[in-house]
Amino acid sequence: MALFIYGTATNTGKNFFTHEDRRNFFLRGYTGHDGSNYVSTWVIGNNEKGALWLAEASGTEKTKAEAQALVKASDDLARTAWDNNNVDDESADEKVARLGSKPGFISIP
């Protein structure tokens, strides 16, 4: 059985996930992008309570490949924004000092 299930769900704030949820299943959030909007993408422990949480959060289940694609699309936007953010006569080192290193790609578990 796979260790995780994947999905998108909007973090609605208080009680979106509870201490009991954290005790019952693994949960980690990533920023994804669906081509139009940023979407909260979740890696969830694969058990009954994890699946129920995603359903009760009005989430949409994704395959791992779909979830990874959402996260990669977000990473691509960040990398493109970094590439396009330039100042005249700025060296590569100066750009890194100004913006930080170019964002990388995140691999979800």
Partner: protein
Amino acid sequence: MSEYRTLKGRKIKTFATDLSGEGAEGQLFFSTAAVERDLKIIVKVDSWASGGNLNSARERLGGSGTQTAGLAFGGNVGTPPAPGLNASNTSEEYNGAAWTEGNNLNTARLAIKGAGTQTATVAFGGSEPATTTKTEEYNGTSWAEQNDMSADRAGHTGFGTQTAAVATADYPAATTEEYDGTSWTAGGDLGTARYGMGAGGTLTAGVVFGGASPVTGKTEEYDGSSWTESGDLNQNRLGLAGSGTQTAALAFGGAPGPSGQVSSERYDGTSWAVAPNLASRRFYLAGCGTQALSLAFGGFSSPSKTNVTEEFTFAFLSKTVTDS
């Protein structure tokens, strides 16, 4: 149907007052604390749960207060990377469930730090984007300008109270300043100059940890006059947040990593131990509260700033047992 006594060899005891504390973990008991007799069990809570979202997503914001009475102020509401900088003057109050907008800072700034409570906070330094020495106090209703720090600071951290606060160095300087509720005076120099630290404690018993450059896990304790090096964080990081005291602190979030870290660590006055992870990774977040009841809010998780709040709780709580 089997009886509990048959299965376990003893009866379930009844108590007029709920059991509590670590020693009671796992204990099953009848409680007559309420009108009806309830079957309860003591469960350990040691995790981050979601809190109410900030009204305004931001990173490099300031924070103070407690988990049920927090304060968020300033920060960057632009879209990084720079020059997507847009310093905010807004402040928000947290009541343990939701954030409500309050009156604005007099001077908008990001990388602002502060110390105190929701009704008595001092906020200092930051970037307008020009680095500033400005100091303001919040009384639970409005912000008022106070005497400036002697040096401008934007990579600093802060801890203490509104009438006894410390502003740490801004790399490459190692100098610190102390606030007495009226004016700033020189404090002891940090052992290692750095920016992007987390902090906790009071003016006479403070602690700072992490920061850069380079990224470090160094921890130093302050006694009101000088700094002493202590045990390092297990994970080197900058742009993290902290809460608690010199002998019971919590460090959470931070960079490196384009989206930040989820990890947390607990400090006991000597060394750091791994604590439960945040659900949402980020850096340049704000934090407040105690080691056992902390609040993490805002921050940056590539590619953008976030409004997400998480509440950390370490406690042994009684839970009513139901058949569902």
